[in-house]
Each structure stands twice: as structure tokens, then as C-alpha cells.
Point group: C2
Chain length 598, copies 2
């Protein structure tokens, strides 16, 4: 049975030492998040995840969700009780506005706790996770009346939310969407259509489910410019705010899928369901993107989270499994064999995961802090810059953290040898669960295109220039520090590769977009490496400062940061050279092969 220990110490190091969160005390909610408060909250979240959710992870995988003939869905044993505890702990609404019953604490905390939840039990964590996305969309686009009706219950956790976009014939290309909305005399809409792959679409955890549904109003234009977003509650809401009559939306079936069995992935049938327009007609795609961006960050965190829990278990196994002897001679001669952690190839594998996880966690926090600034700062310019920074990092976090997060679960499973392939050890579940994160909320190829085709050129490249300037500024500032040199030098080289690739796109992709398409995935991963490399440099700087100040019991942890950072610089960051070469090879050969020759 796999175990999990939430990385609270690492989070506190990032919050306090790397990002100095108290610098943000001018933002609403941040002053309340004093170091002590944060530590207490993280400790409680860790406890809930480790003790309640972790043991349910395999239960959820084995049992899955079951649908009764009437469309009702039962979640795995123990999920209901765990969800009640989640609600009781107020975990859904810790960052939500106080006016709707939230605690108003930084989003950064929610992102962090999101990692703990998704490490402990990814399938379970999706129920509140999707609710967060729906809350964000309602906050930004809902009418005051809609907010009042839905938000308090959702923030409390008694009602959950979903996103309904995909249809059998359309996923990425939402312009093909067919679900129909017909305006009724009372301003309501009748919704008809079928949605597929709806996570948490139906279940027994909440009193009501608030579906946000993308549909086309009768007579609207074809394509994405004719799409509108609707609230379709499972139960219509009574005047007193309670859940009332059953609406015309039902779960038609539950998909049989590779993993996340504990989450009900539903085919949802809308048969004359009553819907309420969010925002304006034909502007649904905007509100949808609010949800989607929220969800993309969350999915990136899932990749990190599965990588982390798989890593922890692989480390435990590598320390326990006795097999063979160290190449340099027995390390534990009194044992029948050495633990496999003595082997360089095992250490190399584990260190790649560790080096990725710790920098990935920092990257998520950096983006989440930008999210907080974008939502809470009183300064327009600062808010806009932060929003663009987060927009730039979102596809990188989604794409890179899930691609590599998945690859890491595979590497962690490999440490178990044959035992990793057997279900009872739980390692293969991490692989199966992590796999979906590369796919949903925009497959990673789409993330790469979003980065290259939309985020790079936006506003004349403002966001990416700001990113380059920040990283370059850090390098320049620290270039003469002998202690920092082994870290900023490789970063400088990698940044030059990334800038070279960016320049190459500017020169070669404007006239021929295929040149961008053919290099997009490599570019996304290259961007990820540079961003992670920058995070490592900042962590090294903070670790050195902490060590100089006495480290206060954290000496070993801070020294480990320095070693892990060196590993990243020597073994992971140099990949940017090969990526640049591939990008510069362009689209010619890729486009030349006739379709029939594949």
C-alpha cells in the first residue's frame, strides 16, 4: 500500500525563503496568511490528505464509480465520508471571497493544498477541483443574483461544479459543438445535447451539481463565436436557496477508462434541461476560458502531484529493497545485499524526479502568486502584468508538468522492478492516473500551440519579454557571485537557447506557421526547462542565505537543495541544445511525407 507525506517543509521554504510571501502583505488576504497561520493550515491539510485520502486511493481505483439504472452514481466506499470531512474543514473555500463565505486567503495556498490533495487521491481531488473552476467562472462572469444563488453553497462545498465542453465529435475544436440552447419566454433556456468525458458529472457527494455547459443558442453563427455558457443545475434552486426540482440532465453512462476510476467520467444527456445564461450570448468562449485556465493550472499540479507521491514511494522502496551490491563494494556487508539506493542508476533516476518536483512546485507557486496579484492588486498595471505572466506560464505548467510528471511516475514504477507492475503496490495506478493529465483540459500538443501561437506573440511579445528580462536580470545580478556561478552559467546558456528558438520562430514562422507547429512541443519543454532552471537558481540563492544564517535545523535540507540543483544543471538543463536543433530543423521534412505514406 503506497504512503504519502505532504511536503509541508518544502512549501514553507518556498513561501517564506524563496518567494518571501510577506512582501505581498499589501494584497487583500495576505496579511491574514501569517507564517504561523499558513503553517497551521498546511499541517491540517497534510493530515487530512495523509490520513483520510491516501488510504482511499486504491479503494477508488479498485471499486470505481457505479451507475444505477436511473442514472444515479455511487462513488467508491469512503469517498462520501471523506468529502464530508473536506466540507467540514472548509477546504473548498479557503481562497474564495469572504462575502460568499470563503476565507479570502491567497490562491497560492489553494494551489499548494491542491498538490497535497492530488498526491493523496487524484480521482477524489477532482470533485472539489472542478468546483474551483466553476467558482472562478461564476465570480468573473455571473450576475449578482447568480453569484448569490450558487457561490455560497459551492464555496462551502455542499454543491459541486463541472465543466461541460466536449462532445463525441468535438474536443479541441469547440467550434463544431452542437448542443443547442433555445431561449424561453422567461429568459431561461432549454438545453438539448450530449456531452462526453464530464469529470464528476454525477455522484453522491454533494446536494447539488452545478453544470456549466457550453451550447449554441438557436440561430447563432457557426464556429466558436456562436457559443454561449449556461448554468444547468442538477436540481433547480428554490426561492429560499435550497435544491428543488430535478432538472433535465442525467448521466447516460460512466466511461471505462485507464485510470482515475474513483472519479465518475460521465456521458451527460441534456434533454430540455433548464439553463441560465452566464454573461452574454455568443460570448461563452470567454467565460469558458476562465474555467479552462483555472483548470489547466490544476491539471499541471496533478502531474506534479503524481510525480511526487510516486517518487516518495520509490524512495522508500529503494531504501528497503536489498538486491545486489554497490559497484564500489558492499555498503552493508552484514546484510544479504545492499539496498538498491546505492546504485548510481537508481540514484540518477530518483534525483531526476526530485529535481523536477521541487522546481515544479516552485514554478506552480510563482504562477499562483501571479494569479493572486492579478486578482487582488490595486494597481492596474501590476494586475495586468501578473495576469499575462500567469497566462504565459499556464500552458508551460500544464504541458510540461504533466508530460514529465507522467514520465516520472513511469520511472518511479521502474524502481520496483516486477513488483511495480503488480496492482497491489499502487505504483501502476500512479502511472494510469497521471496519464490523463497529459490529455484533458487541452491535450499537451494544444498547450504547446497555445504557448507558441497565442502567448508568445500576444501584445508584441510583452509577457515573454518580461519573463526573459526577469531571468536575465537574475543572471546578471548573480553572475559575479562565485557560489552562484555553477548555477547561473548553465541557466544563461539555456536561456540563450530559448531566446534563439524564439527568434527563429519570429523569423521563420510568421510566413510559415507550420514551422511553429513543428517546433511547438519542443519549445514548450525548452521553456519549461528554463523556467525550472530559474526556479532552481532562486532556490539555491535562498538556500545559501539560509545556510549562512544558521539554517535553524534545516542544514541537511538546504545542502540537499544545492546538490539537487547541481544535478538539474548538469543532467537536465543541457537538453535545451537538442531541443533548439530540432526546432531549427523546421517543418519541411514533417510536412513532406504524403498522408498515404504514414
Amino acid at each position: 500500500m503506497p504512503t504519502y507525506k505532504a511536503p509541508v517543509d518544502d512549501v514553507l521554504f518556498l513561501l517564506n525563503d524563496v518567494f518571501s510571501i510577506d512582501r505581498y502583505n499589501n494584497l487583500p488576504g495576505f496579511a491574514d496568511a501569517s507564517s504561523d497561520v499558513v503553517e497551521a493550515i498546511l499541517g491540517e491539510a497534510a493530515k487530512f490528505c495523509e490520513e483520510v485520502l491516501t488510504p482511499l486511493n486504491r479503494v477508488g481505483d479498485v471499486e470505481g464509480c457505479t451507475r444505477a439504472d436511473d442514472g444515479a452514481v455511487t462513488t467508491p466506499k469512503g469517498f462520501k465520508e471523506a468529502f464530508a470531512k473536506l466540507v467540514e474543514g472548509g477546504w473548498v473555500g479557503i481562497s474564495a471571497p469572504e462575502e460568499f463565505g470563503g476565507q479570502g486567503l491567497p490562491e497560492t495556498l489553494t494551489a499548494t493544498i491542491g498538490e497535497f490533495l492530488a498526491s493523496a487521491n487524484m480521482a477524489f481531488a477532482m470533485y472539489p477541483g472542478l468546483t474551483q473552476g466553476a467558482i472562478a467562472a461564476l465570480l468573473l462572469h455571473g450576475t449578482p443574483e447568480q453569484k448569490k444563488t450558487y457561490l455560497p453553497k459551492m464555496i462551502e462545498g455542499r454543491w459541486t461544479g463541472t465543466m461541460n465542453l466536449t462532445e463525441p465529435h468535438c474536443g479541441t475544436d469547440l467550434g463544431l459543438l452542437r448542443t443547442k440552447a433555445v431561449k424561453q419566454g422567461d429568459g431561461r433556456y432549454k438545453i438539448d445535447g450530449t456531452k462526453i468525458f464530464i469529470s464528476a458529472g454525477e455522484h453522491d457527494l454533494a446536494e447539488n451539481i452545478v453544470h456549466l455547459v457550453l451550447a449554441r443558442v438557436e440561430g447563432a453563427v457557426a464556429g466558436i463565436k456562436g457559443l454561449s455558457l449556461f448554468i444547468v443545475p442538477k436540481f433547480l434552486v428554490n426561492a429560499d436557496g435550497s435544491a428543488g426540482a430535478r432538472n433535465g440532465v442525467t448521466c447516460g453512462s460512466i466511461e471505462e477508462k485507464m485510470g482515475i476510476h474513483g472519479n465518475a467520467t460521465c456521458v451527460m444527456n441534456y434533454d430540455g434541461a433548464t439553463g441560465f445564461l452566464i454573461g452574454e450570448e455568443n460570448r461563452g468562449i470567454n467565460a469558458m476560458f476562465t474555467m479552462m485556465n483555472e483548470a489547466r493550472l490544476g491539471v499541471g499540479v496533478q502531474g506534479l502531484a503524481q510525480s511526487e507521491v510516486a517518487y516518495q514511494n520509490a524512495v522508500n522502496y529503494a531504501k528497503e529493497r536489498l538486491q545486489g551490491r554497490a559497484l564500489s563494494g558492499a555498503k552493508y556487508p552484514n546484510k544479504p545485499a545492499d539496498p538498491i539506493i546505492v546504485h548510481p542508476d537508481v540514484r540518477r533516476t530518483l534525483m531526476s524526479i526530485k529535481a523536477f518536483n521541487e522546481a515544479g512546485r516552485a514554478l506552480v507557486m510563482w504562477a499562483a502568486l501571479s494569479g493572486d496579484i492579478a486578482r487582488r492588486s490595486g494597481d492596474d498595471k501590476e494586475r495586468k502584468a501578473a495576469d499575462e505572466h500567469m497566462g504565459l506560464l499556464t500552458p508551460v505548467i500544464k504541458g510540461v508538468l504533466t508530460d514529465q510528471g507522467f514520465a516520472n511516475t513511469v520511472m518511479a514504477q521502474q524502481m520496483y522492478g516486477g513488483h511495480g507492475y503488480i496492482a497491489e503496490h499502487g505504483m501502476e495506478q500512479f502511472v494510469r492516473d497521471a496519464r490523463i493529465a497529459m490529455i484533458y483540459e487541452g491535450a499537451n500538443g494544444i498547450q504547446a500551440l497555445d504557448l507558441v501561437g497565442r502567448k508568445l506573440p500576444k501584445d508584441g511579445g510583452k509577457a515573454v519579454m518580461a519573463f526573459f528580462n526577469e531571468v536575465q536580470g537574475f543572471i546578471t545580478e548573480n553572475a559575479k557571485d562565485a557560489d552562484m556561478k555553477p548555477f547561473v552559467d548553465p541557466l544563461n546558456k539555456a536561456l540563450a537557447d530559448l531566446q534563439g528558438a524564439t527568434m527563429w520562430f519570429m523569423q521563420n514562422a510568421l510566413g510559415r506557421p507550420d514551422n511553429a507547429g513543428a517546433g511547438a512541443t519542443d519549445y514548450m519543454h525548452m521553456f519549461g526547462l528554463v523556467a525550472l532552471g530559474y526556479m532552481w537558481c532562486r532556490m539555491v540563492k535562498a538556500a545559501r542565505a539560509k545556510l549562512k544564517a544558521g539554517a535553524n535545523g534545516a542544514t541537511d535540507r538546504m545542502n540537499a537543495k544545492l546538490i539537487t540543483a547541481r544535478f538539474f544543471m548538469e543532467r537536465m538543463l543541457p537538453e535545451t541544445g537538442a531541443q533548439l536543433a530540432r526546432i531549427k530543423s523546421g517543418a519541411d521534412v514533417v510536412m513532406e511525407l504524403p498522408d498515404a505514406a504514414f
Copy 2:
């Protein structure tokens, strides 16, 4: 439901044009394998795989194997009938010696058909696949009596074979093995112990199962030098050759695992079972390696096979799935959207798999031809050189073809978007099935160590020097040919990287083996890239010759070879630079992190 079409044309191109198999007509069995005969055999094998085995692949996954209380195991519906057809077709023994009822045809054919079988139904193909390994061990190490008793039935396919090595506490480190053998008065042995992860350990497909079991004779020394190999038949064989009394070996349970559900992975209990020694006492590890090497090549082929079938389905889907428009403008304006194969990122993904599969198939054939020479040549020196060449390529084929084969199934699944995660499309099964190939018959980290620690230094590096000489010779011979230059130049650069890494090991790993351990996996993959690059150069040369000669209906296929080869050179081979940098970073940082800091 996934489909499969065996790549018969590609195999014929390799056999006839690239490797000119008729050059080997001096070897026993090769003259019988005329071009027509081979084409007919491959056509029949293809038909059996496509029509009988492919439709059973998902059945096997869904049903799995079931064990009755008495230890009997039932295979999935249809497996028994399919196995009867396999036996009827004589597919198990096509390369086995005629004196034991085989057809004596080249092993190369068996390896090729092995790919078809493993693409169509990997779990099914393991039943005859493991039998091949047991046949090889008996042929080389069995007494004339043992050969007479077991081989004809196994070669016919009426009896199957297994390998019994792993125990709960020992996998890689067989020296820890505890299964006990006690010599009886009659020269037989009593075997007691428990083996785990025994593929095809018990089933209802054959009249008898011939277990080859590694055990320690009472009183033998500890470690691998005290191991002996035994034949333990499920049913003891009567004097007339028929299966007689039930032996004391039973299936204790079937493992629940990530994939290959159609194959029974058994815990095998030996309770005073009667065993017959193969070869000498305490020399079991040698006989075991015969089986193991056979099996390792077979497992490499599984990686390739899953990559191929996943690729084929991904291509079909990419041509059918309409979603979005080409970046350069609509390609099919009369359809609601373009098929996704218009997108550069989709094409890039599919071409990486294609470029890998076609070169991987060539590499397997190159090694299999060496295997044939090693077994059949009348020239001692030639036989020894071929054996060493195959020994050098075995860990590369096992490690690289399964690591990348698995990664390719993941990429192919990705092409389906959300639909790839749903069981009914079968793409996620390819991923789950392919995953085991990275683990069993020596996890890939062990393959890398075998390559670097054993195969490289063997006989003063004779085999690797021969490999370098052959590749360098080809480069030199073709360097001035303008048509070949775009292919041999990148190969030359990659070869230099590989030679640089080899040199670095010679200078830095003799005194400090950890330096080899820390770079072993990168070295194995680098070796794989160079070997695949060399295969591409040879295929390009053959394709150009064929095009010059008129190509005889194969013009499109040969042109596709040239384009795919360029893709490999531009996009895949340059990775050797990053691998070399990682190898040269050495073991320092990897060994420095204290165990407690992981």
C-alpha cells in the same frame, strides 16, 4: 476496436534489399528460405495474426485468466482455439532443428513473425514465446535423452515452456535465491520453493508445461555459483513419451497486474516436485543465460511490436478525426474540419514513431541474422564474431526498443485525445501491455549495466570495436556520395559522440565504476540511436538502389523511406550530444546526496 496489418512489405524490403538474405545461402536452412517461400510464410503468419489474434487482444485484456481452487488456470475465451491453430500451422517450430520436428528455417524468420504475433496479441504471444526460450536452453544444455523427451512436443507446440527464476526477495540478484533441490537416489531431484512472476506458468492451452527452474542444490555454495537449472514438467513423462503423473508444482495465485491480462502471471509453488538437472550442478546460471538472452531479444521485439500496432491505429485515427484547420489554411474546405493529420505536431509525433519502428525492425533483423550465423555457420571465427555481435546488441535491443516502444505507445495514445484514455479504443491497453517489457527479463537499468559493464569490456572491447568499424566503414565508403551525405554526416557525428562516451568510460570508469553506472542508461540509448541511425543509412542506400532500378511498384514506399530517414537524422539522432554531456558529468553529484536526503 484496434486493427493491425502486419508489415510484410517492410520485412521483405529488409530481407531482400537491405540485408540481401540470399548472401547467406551457405548456412543450413537458408537455401530453403527462398524469396517466394519467405513471402508465402510471412503472408500466412500475417493472416493468422490479423484475423485470429488481433480480435482476441481486447478479449484477453477484459477477461484475463482465472484460477480455480485446485490451481487450474483458464485462459480468456478464444485463446485455446487460437493456440490450436498456432500449433496446427507449425508456427512454434519453424526455425527449430528438423531432427526434432522443426522446419529448420532461419531464426530471423521466427524473430520477424514474433513481431507480428506480439503486435496482434502480446499476452497470447508470450505462451509460444517463452516456449522458444526453453527450447533454446534444452537444445544447448540438455542431454540427448532430455532433448528426445521434451523437444519434439515443445517444437510441435503441444507442450509449452516457462522460465522460473524470480522469488519474492530476489529478482535481479539471483544469488539470493532460496528454492532448494535435494538429490534423490535415482538421480532425480526434489524441488521445494516458491517462484513469482512466472509468465504462462499455468494454463489450459497445452497438454504439458515444461518448467525450467533455477534452484540451489542442498549444500551448494551461496550466491549465483551455487545455482542449478532443472526441468520440472507439470506432468511427468511416461516411458512412451506421453504426459503421465501430475508433478508437485502448482499455481498458487495469479498476479493482478497493469496489463498483459491474457497471460497468466503465476506464483508457482514447488512442493517436493520432481526435477531433472540440465547440464551440471552449480552451472545453472549459464543455461539460464541462454534462455535469458533469447528472451531479451523477444522482449525487445515486444516493445517494437506494441509501438507498431499503436502507431498504425494512431495513423488511422489521425486520418479520420476531423478537428480544427491546417495552420496554413483549410486543406479540406468541404468538410466541417480537416483531419488532424494535417497538423505539424501530429505529423511530428507519428513520424517519430514511424522512424523508430522501421529502424528498430531492421536492428532486430540484423541481430537475428547474427544469431543464425552464430548457430549455423561452419566457420568457428565467424560464429564467434556473430555471437559477440548479437551479445552486444541484445541489451541495446531489449532496453532501447522497450523504453522507446513504450514511449511510442503513449505518444500514439495521445493522438486520440480523450478517446485514447477510454478502454474501448484499445490504445490504453497497448500502453499497459508495453509497460512490462521495460521491466521483465532484466529491468532496463540492468540492460544498461550489462552493456557498459559486461559487453563493452569483454575480450578487450572486441565486439564494440567491430561494431564501430562496421559503422565507420559504411560512413567512409559513402561519404563522397552526394545522395548519402545528408545521412552519413549526422551518423558520423553521432558515432563520434558514442566513441567519445566509450573513451570517457575507459578513462574514468575503470578506477571508479560509479562513473559507468551513472552514465549507463544514457549510453545504452546513445548506442541505440547510433545503431538505428546506421540502420537508416543502410535502408536509404537500399531504397536509392531500388528507386534507380525502377522500384517495381514500390516508388512511394521507397520515397517515404528517404523522407523518414531525414526526419530521423534531423530530429532524433542529435540527442546524442545531450547524452554525451550527461555521461561526462559523471557520478559525483549522483553519489553525493545522502540517502536520508532523498
